[in-house]
């Protein structure tokens, strides 16, 4: 199956990716006046968001191939091209990244007071790299953005993070790096086999199963760490907890989606036979993440840590949906990625709002906030319910579609996954009860309610929660054609699978010469 291309007349995707970079370079030259820097970054981020809006309106939902394509030769010696494009799977992430960047600048307005210039440069560079990851159709370009993003993220967590930030940031960097370099080996292998880094051409490669098997696990190493899947999730609670609010929002909103996106874009389309063969182990890991992540949440005493572990559980749903290889489930998974970005991002922002006032994240330091900060409590309530997946919020649509699709392909996984929904309700409602009800904790008495700037940051999230919750059709409409094409590609891929023992034996033979 050839993937159709529709070339862009105006290099829109390039503009979206490079505008923040140019903004960052200008920031480097601006004087160290904090107000100026904040406003300038906000304008850049807003302009970038405005640039993504045409994607939303000009995107042809019935076209399964790549749109807004740009292709130029870049490093000719290695057949690398500057090749960008989006399809139904990636377009929403570009929009979400741009939106999250704007909101991150808004919520850091007062939270970040040190090295303001460096912070905004790092933020804009992260944003550019994120969008580059979602738009790249060249494997080398993709890897470049994927790794380049580590540098600003490392600095964001390490410089502006909490007390234990050094440990968290090194752990984050090394976990991700180990995963990524293993993927690099896989990329080199694919390149030597295909003679190109072009993702669409590699899709057509049809490698034998024993290759697909190893490459699947090499790419798995990178993506599973990013998602993060159990058991390589342990960097996430530390990184989330110690990161500044903006860092947590980016981590939860976009960064960990890159892993799931990688599974969809690469693991499924490059190694369809292996993906089908590895379905059960993947579903098993997903179910473990859902249930284990949920149970761990019950034991948390730190607001941010709880939400971080809930991410493990929610991302378990996403991988469950992806690897059930069923239309509804995959669409649900993509939607759930967006949802999780919105809801968890919003919850981190909410925690940031009170953290700025109290400088504590311990749940026991709160209580009775509903009477002290009623508007804030209302916002938090909506996001809590969305996180649980109450009908009418976006969380419900995503989880429902995932479970529906998974039920059709592997019943046991759906049943076990549904357990996660119940655990989710337990820990989120317990959190809400402890923080907002009960008696007013003297530590929080008299706190001012949310400010206009904070409301401005939270309202877009609220609107999206309810909009997707009540009327998901336009969002799902983006994906239909691309997801159908992808699954067709996966299910049509033919290849004989071999027992694992044989593959291991053969692999050992290749690795150890003679």
């Amino acid at each position: 199956m050839e993937v159709a291309l529709r070339t862009a007349e105006f290099p829109l995707l390039s503009a979206i990716i490079w505008l923040p970079v140019i903004g960052a370079i200008i920031l480097l030259l601006l004087p160290r006046r904090d107000r100026l820097i904040r406003w300038f970054s906000l304008v850049v981020a807003l302009a970038d968001f405005a640039l993504t809006l045409p994607l939303f309106s000009w995107f042809d939902k019935d076209f399964a191939g790549m749109q807004f394509v740009e292709k130029h030769a870049w490093i000719k010696a290695w057949h690398i091209s500057y090749f960008l494009g989006v399809d139904g799977i990636s377009v929403l992430f570009v929009l979400l990244s741009a939106l999250v960047t704007v909101l991150c600048i808004l919520i850091s307005w007062e939270a970040v007071t040190e090295k303001v210039k460096e912070f905004h440069i790092a933020l804009l560079l992260t944003s550019a790299a994120m969008m580059g990851v979602f738009c790249s159709l060249d494997l080398f370009l993709f890897y470049l953005f994927w790794e380049a993003m580590l540098i600003p993220m490392y600095l964001i967590i390490g410089i502006w993070g909490g007390p234990n930030r050094l440990y968290a940031t090194i752990k984050f960097f090394l976990y991700t790096l180990v995963g990524s370099v293993l993927m690099l080996v896989g990329i080199i292998f694919l390149y030597l086999k295909a003679g190109t880094f072009n993702i669409l051409e590699i899709m057509q490669l049809g490698l034998p199963y024993q290759f697909q098997f190893w490459l699947f696990w090499a790419f798995f190493a990178a993506f599973a760490v990013k998602v993060p899947m159990w058991p390589v999730h342990t960097w996430l609670p530390d990184a989330h907890t110690e990161a500044p609010t903006a860092g947590s929002v980016i981590l939860a909103g976009i960064l960990i989606k890159m892993g799931a996106y990688g599974f969809l874009r690469f693991s499924l389309s490059f190694f369809p036979v292996a993906a089908k063969a590895m379905m059960v182990p993947m579903l098993l890991l997903s179910v473990i993440a859902i249930i284990y992540g949920g149970i761990i949440c019950l034991a948390q005493t730190d607001l941010k840590r709880l939400i971080a572990y809930s991410s493990v559980s929610h991302m378990g749903f996403v991988t469950l949906g992806i690897f059930s290889l069923e239309g509804n489930a995959v669409e649900g998974a993509i939607l759930q990625m967006i949802n999780h970005g919105i809801v968890t991002g919003a919850l981190f922002m909410c925690v940031g709002v009170v953290y700025e006032r109290t400088h504590t994240r311990a749940i026991k330091d709160y209580g009775g906030l509903a009477t002290v900060m009623p508007i804030y409590a209302a916002f938090f309530m909506v996001f809590t319910l969305a996180s649980i997946g109450l009908p009418g919020t976006n969380g419900f649509i995503g989880e429902f579609l995932i479970l529906l699709g998974t039920f059709a392909s592997k019943r046991w996984a759906a049943v076990l996954g549904a357990l996660g929904v119940i655990i989710g309700a337990t820990y989120m409602l317990r959190l809400y009860q402890q923080v907002f009800y009960q008696e007013v904790n003297p530590k929080v008495a008299g706190l001012p309610d949310v400010k206009m700037r904070e409301v401005l940051a939270l309202v877009p999230m609220l609107i999206l929660v309810l909009l997707i919750g009540c009327y998901p059709t336009p969002f799902l409409g983006f994906m239909h054609a691309s997801v159908r094409a992808l699954l067709e590609h996966v299910h049509q891929a033919a290849g004989t699978t071999l027992p694992i023992s044989e593959i291991l034996k053969e692999g050992l033979h290749v690795v150890l010469p003679s």
Binding site: W74, I75, K76, A77, I170, L174, V178, L184, V185, P513
Partner: protein, 477 residues
């Protein structure tokens, strides 16, 4: 009568360097403005570079050839000379070693390296190696009033002499087998005689491996390097961390890929364990270092381990990868050393990594530059370090060394930690003491040049890749 003399065109660049160096060493006494030497070195380096590109042909009875392979390595050496001449003046003046002999010795060393890169005869290779080594021994001991400088020079000299002896022995065996010292003739003789199972050939290959492993500091023949790096004046450390190493690889290419092509399996099976050991030992030992010069010494051991992957690959692509790696390594490593040089004050070494604590607060630009160099050494895109790593990994993978590449990427993940630690200190800790930097126009220019190289070749390496490949085309079939 003149026509009977050989044509010396092929050695014009080397002649220029030797002449200028000798003049500088002689006139030092009468010249008080030492900046003259800096400028003379810079201009000579650029002139020699131009000559390198202009001259072609062989001389001395085909023992010496100004071929494409040599051109690439000479570009690296002269680039190193240029960058070191820019970083040295301020630092050397501070330590009282900013005299003509310093620059003269640098140029002699570079001449030796150029001989090693262009030689087609083992004897000439040995001469080049000795010229380089002797000059660098003296440079390391230039601060003879300091014990660690002397110690470093002594260790380097003693172990280096052993390495030279091994090299001579290896050559002797090869001469005994083939009756010639000409590299191409050796290759032909070995192939024709079908000596693949010969014990003497294996011994010769093993001795060559040991000798070159000393010169490029592969574990376990690296013992001299941390001490020599730490003891040497930083301007010399910057030079020897790239220059002699690149020269060692140039000679390895000539000897292993051409002369000993018939014994490829033998030297490959010796180099593979050395490479693995080097990458991991360098990476792990760098983790515990607190002196930044020692840290970069271990880091440069690790990098030699990556660079040797291209030789192990044994292909044209592999050699091109090693060459590109060394070229890019020159920019990032000398860049990093330039920052270390900046930190030196009269009574302040600025070598402890904790001296860098909070540097981003006190000197944000310097910190940013070091950050870029360190991430490039780590191999994170979009810096040159990533391109270099990618190319060697790719070449080794292509040649079938899958396990080696997997180990190499894992080692590179471990090696990331020491660099991250410095970044962490610079950016994530508050400054503890007042740190002054000694900026001068030379080193500023050098830093800008290096950082431009690191970022430019990180995103647009196409031309240098083509150049490296073109330089290998005539070299290997």
């Amino acid at each position: 009568m003149w026509s009977s003399l050989p044509s010396f065109v092929a050695v014009y660049p080397e002649t220029l360097l030797v002449v200028v160096a000798s003049v500088m060493a002689l006139v030092d006494r009468w010249i008080t403005r030492k900046a003259v030497f800096t400028w003379a070195t810079i201009v000579t380096a650029l002139l020699a570079l131009a000559l390198v590109f202009l001259t072609q042909g062989t001389t001395f009875g085909h023992a010496y050839a100004a071929d494409q392979y040599g051109v690439f390595f000479k570009t690296i050496f002269l680039l190193v000379l240029f960058l070191v001449a820019l970083l040295a003046p301020g630092y050397n003046q501070l330590l009282g070693i900013n005299f003509g002999e310093f620059y003269a010795l640098l140029m002699y060393a570079v001449t030796g390296m150029m001989l090693m890169a262009s030689t087609r005869d083992l004897i000439l290779l040995y001469l080049g190696l000795e010229l380089m080594s002797l000059s660098v021994y003296v440079l390391v001991g230039l601060l003879y009033a300091e014990l660690r400088s002397l110690e470093g020079a002594m260790k380097y000299f003693l172990l280096g002499s052993f390495a030279s002896a091994f090299l001579l022995l290896a050559m002797a065996f090869l001469y005994g087998l083939t009756g010639t010292t000409n590299i191409e003739a050796i290759a032909k003789a070995l192939l024709a005689a079908n000596l693949s199972a010969n014990k003497a050939l294996f011994l010769s290959a093993a001795l060559f491996v040991v000798a070159f492993a000393f010169k490029v500091a592969l574990v376990p023949f690296h013992m001299w390097s941390p001490d020599a790096y730490e003891g040497a004046p930083t301007s010399v450390t910057a030079f020897m961390s790239v220059g002699p190493k690149a020269a060692g690889f140039a000679a390895m290419g000539r000897v292993f890929l051409i002369a000993l092509a018939a014994a490829k399996t033998e030297w490959t099976q010796l180099l593979v364990p050395l490479a693995v050991l080097t990458m991991f030992t360098g990476a792990v030992l760098a983790v515990v270092q607190t002196n930044i010069k020692r840290l970069l010494a271990y880091s440069s051991i690790t990098h030699a381990g990556y660079a040797v992957l291209g030789i192990i690959a044994g292909t044209k692509e592999g050699m091109a990868a090693t060459m590109l790696y060394l070229f890019l390594y020159a920019f990032m490593n000398i860049g990093a050393f330039s920052v270390i040089v900046l930190m030196r004050r009269r009574n302040f070494l600025g070598e402890n990594i904790f001296d860098y604590q909070g540097l981003s607060k006190t000197h944000p630009t310097v910190a940013l530059l070091l950050l870029i160099f360190l991430f490039s050494l780590t191999g994170i895109p979009p810096t040159a370090g990533f391109i270099g790593k990618f190319f060697v990994f790719r070449a080794a993978f292509e040649a079938g060394h899958t396990a080696l590449v997997i180990l190499a990427v894992l080692a590179s993940a471990i090696a990331a930690y020491p660099y991250l630690r410095i970044v962490m200190l610079m950016y994530m800790k508050p400054p503890e003491k007042e740190v002054e930097i000694s900026l001068n126009p030379y080193i500023f220019a050098g830093l800008m040049f290096a950082v431009t190289g690191v970022l430019l070749f990180g995103v647009y390496p196409g031309p240098v890749i083509d150049f490296a490949r073109a330089c290998c085309t005539g070299f290997l079939p």
